[in-house]
């Protein structure tokens, strides 16, 4: 990957943070501990956090301050705003439960 196409990444001037294991929809990922979950997922290449309720278009973090609600995910079963949620070791993150339940229901 060229520099231009580089993903979301830490400012190189910042000290590296230890990564911890979390699961994203059942898959294990290693994310920087204490980092905003939404930002950490973006750094791991996971910008898409949910789909819109009716049209089903992909959505990701937008305001990073708890206002827009676009970054909603479920952590250990509870709805949280991933932009305000720090990464913790062992957290289980699930995306888009709304559509997955619907897809399941129609399957």
């Amino acid at each position: 990957m060229t520099q231009d196409a580089a993903g979301w990444r830490a400012d190189p001037a910042h000290p590296a943070v230890p990564c911890v294991a979390v699961t994203l929809d059942g898959q294990t990922l290693h994310l920087p501990e204490g980092q905003s979950l939404a930002v950490a997922l973006a750094m791991a290449g996971q910008l898409e956090l949910r789909r819109s309720p009716t049209a089903g278009t992909p959505r990701g973090m937008f305001c990073l301050m708890g206002s827009c609600q676009e970054c909603l995910v479920h952590v250990d079963g509870n709805a949280v705003l991933s932009c305000l949620e720090p990464v913790r070791a062992g957290m289980s993150v699930e995306r888009d439960l709304l559509h997955r339940a619907r897809d399941g229901a129609s399957a």
Binding site: P53, T54, N78, A79, L97, L98, A101, R102, A105
Partner: protein, 381 residues
């Protein structure tokens, strides 16, 4: 000059106007805000026969029928869904009350059946294991109140009703052979007037007719969650009547039951009481535990004006020929369309399909208007 002037564009006023116009009258409707932006547009939309008062069951059944048939007279199904409903008792005491109340409603024609807690959970798998007894009514359902203003606007326009929104009636004067409403945009006259002002009826009657009908101002609270995967499929209520709960087609769950906030006719509903919000939500999650995973996104308050006995007032005002009133009932979304039709039948000189509710019973001699309860409206301005 119009045949009838309707003051107030909630479900009651709109329904009267629509039926009068369809019968050929020239009707004008004046609404202070937008159509159905007060009680009629913010209510929980529950059409549950089980929670209607026993004496009103025949009316509620006809109201329900009209909602189920809304496409016919309103031009849209108004989000009507018949999903069936369960009403729950969590204690022995509540079980006795439930059995007694449902029996009274059953006697008046409501198709209600008592069911054990296991059967209740079969009917509504979202229920917790807490209920000890339940009742079931296959008719129960809901409609979307928030769409009502838009639907009536279109239907009234089709019926050639002249609708003026954002037109507050500042006074009503009696003229020879009719009434004139004063508004900022000028006077509007008609041979008859129908007062359908919801909670504001009390003030309208006092100001323009010197009649005192005290209304209890109920400041009802409704909450809604964000969209959720399906967690329930019926309308769920409780024996005391203090919960209505259902998941709408879009996945949001609507939680009502008449818990109270702060409000008054001048300011509207202005303050949700956090304890009452939490109480209402706790009760809801006690019945349907999956709600604990929900986020509530909005709670609102609406004003419902109830007569002392919470029964309707529908009919002509004593001492004010050709002035009519409609309102006062608790839970009037369900029966509103039917009440509007009854009043229209009465005004048109037909025999109403069911007896109407003479407002005289609700009039009290008011201290400020002592001896003026039969005052003629032409001396009232």
């Amino acid at each position: 000059m119009h045949d009838t002037l309707v003051v107030g564009g909630g479900v009651m006023g709109c329904a009267v106007a629509l039926h009068l116009a369809r019968a050929g009258q020239r009707v004008v409707l004046l609404e202070k805000g937008g159509l159905c932006m007060q009680a009629s547009g913010v209510n929980a939309g529950t059409l549950a026969i089980q929670i209607k008062r026993a004496a009103l069951i025949p009316y509620a059944l006809r109201g329900w029928e009209m909602w189920s048939d809304a496409r016919q007279w309103l031009g849209s199904d108004a989000g009507f869904h018949q999903v069936g409903g369960v009403t729950l008792a969590f204690t022995q005491e509540e079980a006795e009350m439930l059995a007694e109340r449902m029996e009274a409603r059953r006697r008046n024609g409501a198709p209600i059946e008592m069911v054990g807690s296991n059967r209740a959970r079969e009917l509504e798998p979202g229920l917790s294991d807490k209920p000890v007894l339940a009742s079931w009514c296959a008719l129960d359902g809901y409609a979307s109140s928030n769409e009502l203003g838009m639907l009536f606007r279109a239907a009234l326009a089709n019926a050639d009703v002249e609708v003026r929104e954002f037109a507050s009636v500042d006074a009503i004067d009696r003229l020879s052979g009719g009434y004139t409403a004063r508004t900022l945009a000028g006077p509007v006259s008609a041979s008859r007037v129908v007062l359908a002002g919801g909670m504001w009826l009390e003030a309208l009657l006092k100001r323009d007719f010197g009649i005192h009908i005290p209304l209890i101002c109920r400041v009802n609270q409704v909450s809604v969650t964000e969209r959720m995967p399906p967690i329930m499929r019926r309308v769920v209520g409780v024996a005391t009547g203090q919960l209505t709960l259902k998941q709408s087609q879009n996945g949001t769950v609507i939680i009502g039951g008449g818990w109270q906030g702060k409000g008054d006719p001048e300011r509207g509903g202005y303050e949700v009481i956090p304890e009452n919000l939490i109480g209402n939500l706790r009760l809801a999650s006690y019945a349907v535990p999956a709600l604990r995973k929900a986020r509530v996104v909005r709670t609102w308050l609406g004003l419902e004006g109830n007569t002392e006995d919470a029964m309707p007032i529908v009919g002509e005002l004593p001492g004010a020929p050709n002035a009519f009133v409609i309102g006062g009932v608790r839970g009037g979304f369900t029966i509103g369309p039917f009440m509007g039709m009854l009043l229209a039948q009465h005004i048109l000189g037909q025999q109403p399909e069911m007896p109407i509710f003479d407002p005289t019973r609700a009039i009290v001699p008011s201290p400020s208007a002592a001896g003026k309860t039969t005052r003629r409206p032409d001396s009232a301005s």
